[in-house]
Amino acid sequence: MKNWLNIKNFLDEIGGISNFIARFFQEGFKPRYEFAELIRQCYWVGYKSLPLVGITAFIMGLVLTIQSRPTLVKFGAESMLPMMVSVSLVREISPVITALICAGKVGSGMGAELGSMRVTEQIDAMEVSGTNPFKYLIVTRIIATTLMLPILSNLSNAISLYGGYLGVNIRGNISWHLYWTQVFNAISYSDLLPSVIKTFFFGFAIGVVGCYKGYFSSKGTEGVGRSANSAVVIASLLVFIIDLIAVQIVDLLGLT
């Protein structure tokens, strides 16, 4: 019985989220457009996450480089270090880390903010003030995360590669110019493009889950906490699932 309930809850949740996405596409592209609010959300999602994303990217680049060196040295392939590091950073590590950070920061923020707006009737108040709360609150947030994640992820690429440069130079010695030449030789568009495309999906998933959890938050302050928490858990999980699907597609298309 218990198991059965779990499965039912799980399916309910999937149904709920699918409806929510359908509603996003139905309502999101009809007037009236909430541009001012969209810009404000982009500022919150993009600009306000930048320091955190930047620091993490820098450390990831640096650490990955330092840790990869011994293995490459064993094979006498130390000169391959910039190449190897740059490919793994651009293809996988920096998009996924960026998405996870945003799932934690933005997803939980949205879950909590919208949840408390629901609980204190602010969403109802918007509705009676001539505003469609779904458009004003939800559509703008989902578009903002979908647009900002790729930008953040690309900045994170750049910063982590800079971290990589420092990492290479701790033990070895490579000129600024040579490092970047090697990096750009290693990375092709078939590395960059799939990784950029998947970040759109990461952003969309984070926005949808954060908004869904907050918008349908249950009554009481306890509900708000639960919304924020499950927004992070589900969004992070979705990031990995999307990543898994993306790698299969890329593989099938022969873009490896």
């Binding site: 609980v119 204190t120 009737e121 602010q122 109802d124 108040a125 009676v128 003030s129 001539g130 505003t131």
Partner: protein, 245 residues
């Protein structure tokens, strides 16, 4: 002559799952009157006025606002009707992320009104705030205010469009007796000044006594009894007596 009614509710039914909140509820709000709705916690008072403003949809029955059935309203008509109705939420529903000025601006900006200039908007906001005696809070955030102040700001926001009908959901709950008397008088003043009709939901008998002309008892999802304060006070019925103890 019979007064015209601005809200007319017939045979209203609303339930959540197996929880029947309103059953065959009937009520009229006459033009210019302050009608109090009295009922225990959980009796469905908030649900009732949320049905009136279109936040909940009744399963059965009709609600007429200004002589038009709300089931015929589309999105634009709702917008237009809601401009004529002020709503004070039980939990105030002030926007946490906005200053008091932006909170009051919100309904002005969002309803597609005949265009107000910035100067006019500013004057209107200051004017409405001074009505509730809180002009000095205009640049503060809701979180910086006390509970009573927030209530008054929410009241100001409900009044800013100069509505013809105002729905007050527990305007005095959680306030000290002095402040709640002030608010009760404010409600009365608003009625006189702007000639509004209002529904006041409350359990606060002194507020009801001061501010209302007529009382409806919402018990077991129905309109159990109605009349003015003295009439109900002298009734013999057990369930009515409870409220006046």
């Amino acid at each position: 002559m019979e007064k015209e009614s601005v809200i007319e509710i017939r045979n209203l039914n609303k339930s959540f799952g197996s929880n029947h909140v309103l059953t065959n509820f009937e009520m009229d709000l006459l033009k210019g009157e302050n009608l109090a709705v009295l009922g225990k916690s959980g009796s469905g008072k908030s649900v009732l006025i949320k049905c009136i403003i279109g936040l909940y949809f009744p399963e059965q029955g009709s609600i007429k606002l200004f002589d038009r059935d709300i089931s015929e309203f589309d999105h634009y008509e709702w917008d237009r009707v809601r401009q004529r109705i002020g709503f004070l939420f039980q939990s105030n529903a002030l926007y946490d992320s906005m200053t008091i000025r932006e909170n009051l601006e919100f309904p002005l900006r969002r309803h597609e009104l005949k265009h107000l200039t910035d100067k006019e908007t500013e004057n209107l906001i200051i004017d409405t705030l001074s009505n509730v005696g809180l002009e000095h809070t205009i640049d503060m955030m809701p979180s910086e205010l006390s509970g009573g102040m927030r209530k008054r700001i929410a009241l100001a926001r409900a009044l800013i469009l100069k509505p013809e009908i105002i729905l007050y959901d527990e305007p005095t709950t959680g306030l000290d007796p002095i402040t709640s008397r002030e608010i009760s008088h404010l409600i009365l003043e608003v009625q006189k000044k702007y000639n509004t009709s209002s529904i006041i939901i409350s359990h606060d008998m002194s507020c009801i006594n001061i501010a209302s002309n007529r009382i409806i008892m919402l018990i077991e999802g129905r309109c159990y009894a109605q009349g003015d304060y003295d009439h109900l006070k002298n009734m013999e019925d057990e369930k009515v007596k409870e409220f006046f103890l």
